[in-house]
Amino acid sequence: MSSFALFIVVLLYLALLFLVAHLAEKKKSKLWINNPYIYALSLAVYCTAWTYYGSIGVAATSGLNYLPIYVGPIIVIPAWIFINTRIVRISRINKISSLADFISLRYGNSRNFSAIITIVCLLAVIPYIGLQIKAISETFHLVTKTATSQNILTDNATFVVVLIALFSSYYGTRYVDASEKRLGIISAIALESFLKLFFIIILGLFVIYFAFDGFSDIYEKASKFEDFKQKNTFNGIEGALNWMILCMISGTAICILPRQFHTAIVENRQEKHIKTAIWFFPLYLLIFTIFIFPIAWGGRLIFDGQNVNPEFYSILIPQHFDNSLITVLVFLGGLSSCISMIIISAITLSIMLSNNLIIPYGLLGKFKSESETQNTRNITNIRKISIFALIIMAFAFYKYFILKTSLDSVGLISFVVIAQLAPAFFGALFWRRGTYKGALIGLLAGLAICYFGLIIPQYYFSYNQELKGVLRDIYHIFDVFRIPYLSRIPEIFFWSLLTNTGLFTIISVSVKGNYRERNFAELYVDVDKYIQNHENAFIWRGTAYVSDIKNILERFLGKKKTEQALRIFNLKYNIDSQTETADSRFIKFSENLLAGRIGTASAKILIEGVTKEDKISLKEVLNILEESKENIILNKKLTEKSEELKQLSEELTVANESLMIKDRQKDDFLDSVAHELRTPITAIRSAGEILADDDDIPLDIKKEFLNNIITESDRLSEIINDILYLDKLEHGEIALNIRQNNINETYRKALNPLLHLIQQKDIHVKDVNLLTNHVFEYDEARLIQLFQNILGNALKFADEKGTIQTEFSIREDRLIITIFNTGKTIPEEDLKMIFNKFYQSKNQNILKQTGSGLGLAISKQIVEAHGGLIYAENSGSGVTFTISLPESITKNEIEKQQ
């Protein structure tokens, strides 16, 4: 493929990234913002060119050693649910935007410490960026089959790097507040992570199934190599030890690498996204590793005896088969790995560079007198230039230092250097006693060991061969520290971290810390306790005026935003807006407002400039913290109590409402009962009065009146019986006599006594039986009563010459009985109410109900006692009652009903 064509492909690819970043920034839809998978994919920025190309080289040349950079993170990531959740919280409440801010704030917010951490990160990461540029350049030439040009102006790789630099400085500095989320960049990174995995899967499948005949074919052929067995075992204790330490190195790196800190912490939008990441990201790494082995050994088989760089097997294999599509895809996957690493690393380093070196050591004075717009412009410009400069520096580093070294070793050295921050980093999370001095001296000692042990031999020796002899002699002095089983990198990692951690621990426990360190130690270690009122837990005493601090804030936030922030602050703490003096909460609040823009150290320096702080002793700090902790606990208890009371009062209101409804129902019920009783009593009374007063009453009329008295008395007692019966049913006082019965027979028993009434009204009765089994468990007497009530009801409302149709069926293990009658339908609003006792519809005055008004209420109770359901619906020309009963009744249900 020609250089020009590939360059166009690269341009198109970058255009795609621009488009994705642009769309994500512009749309900001929920899909982008609240997507845990975008977050988890962005973490895969961890897989750089070193992973993509380098680990294949390692697998081919030194066997299982390619695994630790995946295994280390896979072991460590589950702990993120504990570690990263806390770091995210700490960073959120302190507006932390970089690794340097995170560590230095804990150790007293020191400007010097944050600067040193920044330098460590620069030292570790710039060569690493250089490494990516090297990979881009070399693969570019490999794909185009051109020679690497020494003239950077004619080297196409140069232009690719410049394009990446432009992209990062444009999208990386969209927000002046560094703690803001960069949606565009992160979406582009997530896309790249997806693509590089996708492309390596394609390549893997190509190698396994196209170049070879399946995985076992590769394995079988490769196992004939003499060194195969040796490269796929741990090589005894020695190998295992090295392997284990390599796992530790990469496990540390996945937590501390600035770009990982940025994607995992600064760009975290919701804590719950960590939950997705802790399974998704290890899975991602696992899929990646699956294909390393076949590609590496496939490459060795294909290129056996040829002088090729095994790191580039992934490009050489498809090229060997003249498959330029897969070659270009693999190249783009590698490009993705490089670009995302370069972009995120450059952004994080530029934030650290501007917030922890350039601004605090050079520009604070200037910022104090500039306007907000000018300051915002200055800050973004500093970051833009930093990003550009960093990438160019890395480019230079690649050109002059790492041309000849392998991707793998440069990557590992970076990891070891960055691991020097581990004691201070993890100490910040878990150890209250850790001090600034301990952390600083430990770090410097560890760095010194790395410098002499790794950096000089790696870069200096490879660059300047002549001095090698002299230095080698000096190095012999250190030979006493050689650990026979360990290779160079694990050995230096071991010694540097041992010294670093040792000094950190010893100095911290023997030197008294500063009160500010201790204050932040509490805030970090007990972040959950202070998360709501962290400004309260910040200890500061002295004199400060709100107006002075406001002045500073306005220089960075502008008048409008400053006032808005102050309003929120005053509201939160219930402070009068006229208050003139600032308290510790306001100091912390203001520092936070500035921290995102200029870093925590600079924020502190600026605020210090307008305040006069009194010294506080460590003892006092501890006392105040203790007090504030108690206050917080007390506050929490009070809040809980008040919540409880609120809930209770709500419950009471609900209970009261339901009591009132019940009371009204009871009144209505009594009213209905009285009304029902009055009608027969009236008839009895009238008849009695006539019989008593009238002596000339004809005998037949007299008899009729006497009969009336008798039937109305019966009616009275029937109503009373129904009421009592319903009451007992409702209170579960009537035990059901559950037996196995034939439902057809039961229905017949209910229907037969009604037949003469049916004939009278000339109603057509039919039943449809869809049952396969007729035996069910129920109380037969109650079911007869139920059928008679419903049938009686149907009979009452069915029009003359109408139809009553009953259907039996089984649906989902339930016996379903429907009874339909033609005739008047029930108003929709009444359908549910008709089962209430004495329920009378809204039109009660028009349609006088027949019977005691209790039949349907009793029916409902009977059905419910059987664990069933009953409801009525209007269906076409009439009304259908549906009864659904469980096929067999469990004992529990009966007991429950009783």
Binding site: H675, I681, A683, S686, E689, I690, E712, I846, K848
Partner: protein, 121 residues
Amino acid sequence: MKKIIIADDEHKILMSLEYSFKKNGYEVFIARDGTEVLDFLKTMVPDVILLDIMMPNLDGYSTLEVIKEQERLKNTKVIFLSAKNNPKDIEKGLEMGADAYVTKPYSIKKLMQQIEELFEA
């Protein structure tokens, strides 16, 4: 001879009222609900109407409303005879223009006296 319409859907109550009013010299017309009352009124002007409130098809209140609209019935006495004994219901009945509201159960003798008094007043 005074004419009376008795409207109630309870057969047994109607029986005793019919017997007593006939015995006391009234010409009695029996209605099962409001619509039957209105049918009678098309062709006659009764002296008294006894109205139950809860009846099928047309209830007592609505029947009274129609009666009150007709000028020619202005001398007809209308008496509600109901088992509804809530003060609310009684008030409503009287407000609508009923001449009396008698609750069930009642004494036929007293009812008769009440009607006589209505004529004398």
